[in-house]
């Protein structure tokens, strides 16, 4: 099963505003490897060549925080979604 299909099995409540903010300037100037593109268990980060920007589909975030730890350059500003938003695990 594809990872996006797996995410679709989860219960999410999506805020209008993203809880993950990316400082594109840091990505462009300081980050060579872009760990976020392969380290996210939800595979939510992608790179857009046209505008040279990383984007994240925050609605599918599993809230593990792996990207925050792996983003050693500090481009990812990550906080928990506001109360009542985000993933709601039914098994955990």
């Amino acid at each position: 099963m594809r990872v996006d299909e797996k995410l679709a099995l989860n219960a999410f409540k999506t805020d209008k505003e993203s809880h993950i903010k990316i400082n594109h300037e840091i990505c462009r100037t300081r980050c060579r490897i872009k760990y976020c593109l392969f380290i996210c268990p939800g595979h939510l980060y992608s790179y857009n060549e046209e505008n040279n920007e990383i984007s994240v589909e925050y609605a599918g975030c599993l809230e593990c925080g792996t990207c925050k730890i792996a983003c050693v350059e500090g481009a990812i500003e990550w906080e928990y979604p506001k109360g009542e938003y985000g993933v709601q695990y039914r098994y955990g």
Partner: protein, 429 residues
């Protein structure tokens, strides 16, 4: 808002255990939980070792919703196309169970309901944004515009603990000190689980995997049987996957794991019910946060209380124990009306006298010991291979068993000084 005795940030196991004990002592407690209900943001492998906290927890977990008591322990070394397993079971594990598989969404919610019956306010959907300070003293928390003043704040907000970080108690999170666990819940009937794992009703299996499951990276696979589901997943070191060349996408590891012959048969016909991920502290004793400050205590994962012992992984009983010991400390501080750092340092003393810091200390060299590629590449490759060479019968006469094994052992390099030194160093961990 009027000042209350204790604000606990996070309705996970350590926060709830802390609240339980504080309520018994008659203190005024609020538990703030950002999810829809306690447990809704939590993930475990996993199993809870109950025996270490039996005395501390008292009747707290009586009639708790355990999934299965673990009576079968399995470990597998995964080579690329073969595997070698150890399968242990013992009467003692069946008659005197010491650990249980659990699911956090059910378990934590149950515990929170018990606590609410005791008069504790558990407020869900409530994200704490900051602490309030008075000089170097923590005097409450802040959520949006709302402030809740308290005599003491308990940071029970998990491995990423923003509260301990804001209080300046948490070391910077470095990739080498953390792993990520990626897990699927797979539904299977109770009978199928009993049959496939060779266990009776309510009995279960804990299975750890090492080697090809992480493509040689630090980490491994896990499988725990629940009542009518299986928790199956992969844990991989964050630094290990960052440095892996060529690059591997983290989410693909669990798919490859499920494709393995050994796993495929076990989960056949099961449906995936949930996909989750959670970060795990791997830094051990040397990467704990500072455990207390003026008006604040840090418990559970937030403090770094998790232990990879190689043969098993632990965390939840540390969380419960630290929550209870934090509560005992707060009760004493409350009696003296003094929540200063000096008084709250009693928490660390209590932890040192308990299995929490004793076990963490005894395993303090484990992270360094496990930071060795050989455990994830060499051993999982060669041990199954030795068996394969001995057990394969081809055309013509079979070579002598002993000399076959000897030849393989020699050519593998397992008898080299480097390997023997490695094996010898087991005595230190």
């Amino acid at each position: 808002m009027e000042k209350i005795d204790v604000v606990i940030v996070g309705g996970g196991l350590s926060g709830l255990a802390c609240a339980y004990r504080l309520a018994d002592a008659g203190l005024q407690v609020i538990v703030l939980e950002r999810g829809d209900f306690p447990g809704s943001k939590n993930v475990t492998g996993g199993r809870l070792y109950l025996e270490p906290i039996k005395t501390l927890a008292g009747n707290m977990l009586d009639s708790a919703p355990f999934e299965r008591k673990i009576v079968r322990e399995r470990w597998s070394l995964f080579g690329e196309g073969n595997s070698l397993n150890i399968d242990f079971t013992g009467e003692k594990f069946r008659t005197n169970p010491h650990s249980y598989s659990i699911l956090r969404s059910t378990f934590d919610r149950w515990l929170s309901e018990r606590i609410m019956e005791k008069g504790v306010f558990v407020i869900p959907k409530y994200r704490v944004d900051d602490i309030i300070r008075d000089g170097n003293k923590v005097i409450g928390i802040k959520a949006g515009e709302e402030e809740i003043p308290a005599s003491v704040v308990v940071a029970a907000d998990g491995v990423l603990s923003f509260i301990a970080e804001k209080a300046g108690l948490k070391p910077k999170m470095k990739p080498k000190n953390y792993a990520v666990g990626i897990k699927e819940i797979i539904e299977l009937s109770e009978e199928k689980i009993n049959d496939r794992f060779n266990v009776e009703k309510d009995e279960g299996c804990a299975h750890l995997f090492i080697g090809d499951v992480t493509k040689g990276m630090f980490g491994g696979g896990f499988l725990y049987t629940n009542k009518e589901t299986i928790s199956l997943g992969v844990v991989v070191g964050i630094k290990a996957i960052m440095e892996k060349a060529p690059t591997i996408e983290a989410h693909t590891l669990i798919e490859a794991f499920k494709e393995r012959y050994e796993i495929k048969r076990l989960i056949e016909g099961g449906s995936i019910m949930e996909y989750s991920a959670h970060v795990i502290p791997e830094g051990g004793y040397n990467n704990l946060s500072k455990l207390y400050g003026n008006g604040i205590l840090v418990t559970g994962d937030a403090a770094g209380f998790a232990l990879n012992m190689g043969v098993t992984v632990r965390g939840m009983e540390f969380a419960i124990a630290s929550g209870i010991l934090a509560a005992e400390t707060i009760v004493e501080a409350h009696e003296n009306g003094d929540f200063s750092e000096k008084t709250l340092s009693l928490y660390e003393t209590k932890l040192k006298d308990s299995f929490v810091l004793k076990d963490m200390y005894n395993c303090k060299d484990m992270p360094e010991f496990l930071d060795n590629d050989a455990f994830f590449t060499f051993y999982p490759k060669y041990f199954p291979l030795f068996v394969e060479k001995v057990m394969w019968f081809g055309e013509g006469p079979k070579e002598k068993i002993g000399s076959t094994l000897w030849k393989e052992l020699k050519s593998s390099g397992i008898m080299s000084f480097k390997r023997l030194k490695e094996i010898y160093s087991i005595k230190n961990i």
